[in-house]
């Protein structure tokens, strides 16, 4: 390969079973143009490498304290009292002053316990491909492959396109997990190298969409139509968020829209909101409002599923 572009990745997971067919290796790219308050991976939103603080791992300033002296900006200070719920009582933990922290990473380099660490790492395309190829025997047996997810992978367009090309050159099945919020020119370039799009659709009401996640839905819907017209395959994923998009009206509009995409759509997945991502927010610098809501009931999900089924769609609840 003449050029080997690099991208910012925050995780690579082997044996990912929820992100497309078969056993998959999922590559999570960092950075997203959307600001969904229910985001279950808040560490994926910023494009730059950022500090993470996990109290559970901290061994306390009495035996360690290396981070306190490592920070040139004084952003790490002893916490008031013990904040740890998982460690023994009486451990003097630290607190990150997020307003002062500039994510320089000096403390994470010093932290021996991995309580302070950096979300995000630069990888070249060939490094990612080498990693994925190690799992090849498992892909073959299960009909799996590689899923590129995020964040929004199409926001790191050059890297993602090069990675998709390289994966296809190696004969691997590719899936692209996307918000759909990207210029059509980028989507069009990705199309020949993507076996399956995992496309999020949230709300057919453009104003509500914009108000909640900070971007309009129009480009997303147009991209969905474009993919369908170009012969691409899609799994549509609908997060069910209380009071944002769980009305019957919205589901009907979604159902109608998806039905019109025709055979391009292989499956529609309902992803009920859950609060499991909330604790992750505590680990990083906040960059937007956080939704803390009750998960929708099975009954509610059943009703929404029934609505979509009126449009002759195959529905799966995750």
């Amino acid at each position: 390969m003449s050029s080997d572009p690099a991208g910012t990745i925050y995780d690579i997971q082997g044996f990912s079973v929820q992100d497309g067919p078969g056993i998959r290796t999922t590559v999570f790219l960092k950075g997203c143009p959307l600001r969904c308050p229910w985001c279950h991976s808040p560490e994926s939103r910023r494009f730059d490498i950022q500090l993470s603080w996990q109290s559970r791992r901290c061994i306390g300033t009495a035996v360690c304290g290396l981070c306190l002296v490592s920070c040139p900006r004084g952003a790490i200070v002893p916490a008031e009292g013990s904040q740890s719920t998982d460690t023994e009582d009486g451990l003097q933990l630290i607190r990150v002053d997020w307003d002062t922290c500039d994510d320089c990473g000096l403390c994470a380099a010093e932290c021996p316990a991995g309580a302070l660490s950096m979300w995000g790492k630069r990888y070249t395309v060939s490094e990612v491909v080498d990693r994925a190829l190690r799992d090849r025997p498992f892909f073959e047996k299960s009909g799996g492959g590689v899923t590129i997810s995020g964040g929004e992978p199409l926001s790191q367009a050059e890297f993602t396109l090069a990675l998709l090309r390289a994966l296809k050159e190696n004969g691997l099945h590719t899936a692209l997990d996307t918000t759909g919020f990207a210029p059509w020119a980028v989507v069009e370039k990705a199309l020949p190298h993507v076996d399956l799009f995992l496309l999020d659709l949230k709300n057919m009401d453009g104003r509500a969409h914009n108000a909640a996640v900070g971007v309009p839905n129009q480009p997303i819907l147009e991209n969905a139509r474009g993919i369908a017209a170009a012969g691409g395959k899609m799994q549509i994923r609908i997060p069910v968020i209380p009071r944002f998009n769980d009305s019957g009206g919205n589901l009907r509009a979604l159902g109608k829209f998806v039905a019109e995409l025709g055979e391009a759509v292989t499956l529609v997945q309902l992803l009920p909101y859950h609060a499991l991502g909330v604790p992750k927010w505590e680990r990083i610098k906040h960059d937007g409002p956080i939704l803390e809501a009750t998960a929708p009931s099975d009954k509610k999900i059943g009703e929404l599923k029934a609505i979509l089924e009126e449009y002759s769609l195959t529905i799966q609840v995750h």
Binding site: Q13, G14, F15, S16, V17, Q18, D19, P21, G22, I23, T25, T26, I59, V63, C64, L66, P112, A113, G114, R134, D135, P137, F138, E140, K141, S142, G143, G144, S149, Q316, H318
Partner: protein, 806 residues
């Protein structure tokens, strides 16, 4: 999805009785054996053991409980435990005196005061006559010089207890041939040589004579049960039950003596032979073997003749499995920490291929898995043999079963195990007919004496201990129980701080490994020598292929095939330990050897940041990384090559294995801090699994790492434990799990076992045991009800990396 059949009301009643009954120690066997041993001090052991068994079969209480259809008991009380004083009994006197016996938190038992008083009268007699003491007395003095080495798990007094066990008798022969024919065969051998005993004929004749006695014993017991059923029938007011009791009596009158004629008779014979074996032999890993292969032809012919329905056959098998579950043996209190949950290891193997190479799956295969799943039983444990032609439906029920019943079944690969057994010298037919023994040990089914550790007790060997001795001049850093430092027990290989390169560390490790494997083999040889003299096994030999032909007991090498198993524990911990030294001291030079050594010998006290840095920075085994995996491969190669070069008293080669039952927790407690950052007393890694929670790259990477270990040359078994979050199996997750197992086996992996449970659920079960009474989990070599386990083992299951996935 596989559709499970409903549980018959009678089966549900029996299961409830089983789960609601607290086991009780019964002294009937103790009384009869004590009386017999005291009255017959001079009988030669071969005849003594046979006549002791006959005495038991003639005089043990025969008990038929309500609702039972398959019968046989080791005790007079329901769900009781017999005592086996002639093997090892010293611990019970200690526990009675300390009051611990009736106050156990784990595996609690009741025992009547008058029974306690009775047993105590014989402390002096048995403390001089049990096999444990006889083994202690036989150990030459040099063995005491290596006590406390931290690698070989015996060498001290009282550690020779536990045999005989871990084998699979030929149940198929008992069912299809009967003991009358076997006795006749032995008698013919005697007739051929009588009056003309040349050479070793006298010994052979003694053996044949013993076989004739145990055949009588087996037949006698069966007929006594028949009489009991008839007696109950006469007094039974319920017409249906009366007819059933008569049916049972007719079967019991016929079987054992004659070849079984029906499915019911075959199941009853299988169970009653197990009772006879257990009355003789200490109930320790007495493995059932390929039960689906024994029973299916009977099922099919009954079905064809209209004598049985699928429902009735399932009910009989359910009742059989519940009878097995009821059997238990009281262990010393300290052992319950390593293997609690009333487990007795009567492993059943299902599936695989037949002797002719075709798929062996049959209706009984499914029915057995249905027993485990529907009744939530961890006992009998089950192993499923997988091959290329394993039907999808069997995969389906197997995954559904392990989902509900952690570790039941384990998955075993014919592709690796059959060649491994061919390597051991088994014929193609015998290798194809293998079963799993005890926990995960492949062996011949009814033709092989695979005796783990000589007389058939698992003999564990702590790999991390060899690393510690290698860098500490042959001294175990763990102080003796009295607080005094250990003596130097290993080779003087120098100290880490004097070693100039990592190669020197490896060289020292290799020397200690080889040195202590030799000691291990030496100890097992003495144990086997002593055990075979005192505890020959004519009741096993009567059916085992090769014994009647050769005129030798299994303990003397009479079986068609012979082996000795070896069980290495903690390869994950040992690997990461060597990785830590290589990475921190020699490759990255992040510290000096002296600093590393001092911190380790201080159990990391005052060095917490350093310890954390080691755990954070080093590449860990279990993540498909060459750096650690090459070391795992090296360790496994050093061990397997050395073990395979050793020979045992039956002229057999040893075979290597890597599995721990659940001793990785108990022996972690007795192992000093290790270079990977583990603190003194924390658990070791289990089987070939990575260190708990250090496999952070997902299951595919874990399996790729495990594949660096040479499975084909670990003929005594490997064990890889994985835990999945229940969510991972939803949707298409089940198919993906199956694909994962298939890939591992394609790449020459040997064994996999799963817990499908979330950490939240397990923590909740610790807090609210009553709400999770039936939660079965796999620990390492066995499954158990989670709430009946030692907290250390519970925590170990929880701590395992949960593969719950995006």
């Amino acid at each position: 999805m596989y559709e499970f059949s409903p549980v018959a009301p009678r089966v549900a009643r029996v299961r409830k009785r089983y789960r609601d009954t607290k086991p009780k120690v019964c002294i009937e066997r103790f009384k009869l054996v004590t009386e017999f041993y005291q009255n017959h001090p001079t009988l030669p052991p071969m005849i003594k053991r046979a006549r002791n068994l006959l005495n038991l079969c003639e005089r043990m209480p025969v008990v038929v409980h309500e609702d039972e259809f398959i019968v046989g008991e080791l005790t007079s009380t329901y769900h009781g435990s017999a005592l086996f004083p002639e093997y090892a009994i010293g611990w019970i006197f200690d526990e009675i005196r300390s009051g611990e016996l009736l106050n156990r938190t784990l595996d609690p038992y009741d025992m009547d005061q008058e029974d306690i008083d009775y047993v105590m009268q014989f402390e002096d007699f048995w403390s001089k006559n049990d096999l444990s003491r006889l083994t202690d007395d036989a150990l030459p003095p040099e063995f005491h010089d290596i006590v406390g080495n931290g690698i070989v798990t015996f060498g001290d007094k009282g550690t020779g207890a536990g045999p005989v066990g871990h084998f699979c008798a030929n149940y198929d022969k008992a069912i299809r041939k009967g003991f009358s024919a076997i006795k006749r065969e032995a008698q013919e051998k005697i007739d051929l040589m009588k009056g003309r005993l040349y050479g070793e004929d006298a010994q052979r004749e003694q053996f044949y004579y013993a076989v004739t006695i145990v055949c009588d014993a087996a037949i006698t017991l069966s007929k006594r049960y028949a009489a009991e059923c008839r007696g109950q029938a006469a007094e039974c007011g319920d017409e249906g039950r009366r007819a059933e009791l008569i049916e049972m009596a007719e079967a019991l009158d016929w079987i054992m003596q004659n070849p079984a004629r029906t499915y019911h008779e075959a199941v009853q014979c299988l169970y009653l032979y197990q009772i006879v074996l257990s009355l003789d032999g200490n109930l320790h890993g007495l493995t059932f073997g390929r039960v689906d292969q024994y029973l299916n032809s009977f099922y099919e012919s009954d079905l064809a003749a209209g004598r049985i329905t699928r429902e009735r056959a399932q009910e009989i098998l359910d009742l059989f499995c519940l009878k097995v579950a009821e059997m238990n043996k009281i262990w010393p209190s300290f052992a319950t920490m390593a293997a609690g949950g009333y487990t007795s290891g009567q492993l059943i193997t299902v599936g695989g291929i037949k002797k002719d190479g075709t798929d062996a799956t049959n209706e009984v295969t499914y029915m057995l898995l249905e027993c485990a799943r529907r009744l939530a039983l961890h006992d009998p444990p089950m192993s499923l043999r997988i091959h290329e032609g394993t039907p999808d439906k069997l995969w389906d029920i197997a995954v559904e079963t392990t989902r509900a019943c952690g570790g039941v079944p384990t998955f075993e690969s014919d592709k690796v195990i059959i060649p491994a057994l061919l390597d051991r010298g088994l014929s193609l037919e015998s290798a194809r007919n293998y079963c799993l023994i005890g926990c995960v040990e492949p062996g011949g089914c009814g033709d092989d004496w695979p005796a783990n550790g000589g007389p058939g007790q698992e003999t564990f060997w702590r790999i991390p201990g060899a690393v510690l001795l290698a860098i500490n001049n042959g001294e175990n850093p763990m102080p003796r129980p009295d607080g005094q430092p250990q003596r130097q027990t290993g080779l003087p290989t120098g100290y880490l701080y004097d070693m100039k390169s990592f190669d020197e560390v490896l060289e020292a490790t290799k020397k200690q490994i080889e040195h202590f494997i030799d000691w291990h083999v030496s100890f097992c040889s003495v144990r086997e020598y002593v055990a075979r003299h005192h505890m020959p096994l004519p009741v096993v030999s009567a059916t085992m292929d090769g014994c009647l032909e050769s005129g030798k007991d299994v303990m003397y090498g009479g079986a068609k095939y012979n082996g000795t198993g070896f069980a290495g524990v903690g390869i994950g911990t040992a690997t990461d330990s060597l990785v830590a030294i290589k990475y921190m001291v020699f490759d990255r030079k992040l510290c000096t050897a002296r600093e590393f050594y001092d911190a380790l010998m201080a159990n990391w006290e005052g060095h917490e940041t350093f310890r954390q840095r080691i755990m954070k920075e080093i590449p860990h085994y279990g993540n498909d990384l060459d750096y650690p995996d090459e070391i795992a491969e090296w360790i496994s190669k050093v061990i397997t090559e050395k073990v395979r070069s050793c020979t045992g008293p039956r002229g057999n080669h040893w075979s290597a294995g890597l599995y721990p039952v659940a001793t990785h927790v108990a022996w972690g407690k007795m192992t000093w801090a290790t270079p990977d950052g583990r603190r003194t007393g924390e658990p070791l890694s289990d089987g070939i699994s990575p260190i708990q929670c250090m496999d952070t790259s997902g299951p595919a990477a874990t399996l790729k790492s495990a594949l660096r270990i040479d499975h084909r040359h670990s003929a005594n078994g490997t064990l890889l434990n994985m835990k999945f979050h229940p969510k991972a199996l939803e949707g298409g997750g089940k198919d993906k799990l199956i694909a994962l197992i298939k890939t591992y086996f394609d790449l020459d992996g040997m064994e996999l076992q799963f817990n499908i449970a979330s950490s939240e659920m397990l923590r909740d079960a610790q807090l609210h045991p009553d709400a999770h009474k039936d939660l079965v989990v796999r620990i390492a070599g066995f499954s158990a009800y989670f709430v009946e386990l030692h907290k250390g083992l519970q925590d170990d299951v929880i701590r395992r990396t949960e593969l719950d996935l995006a």
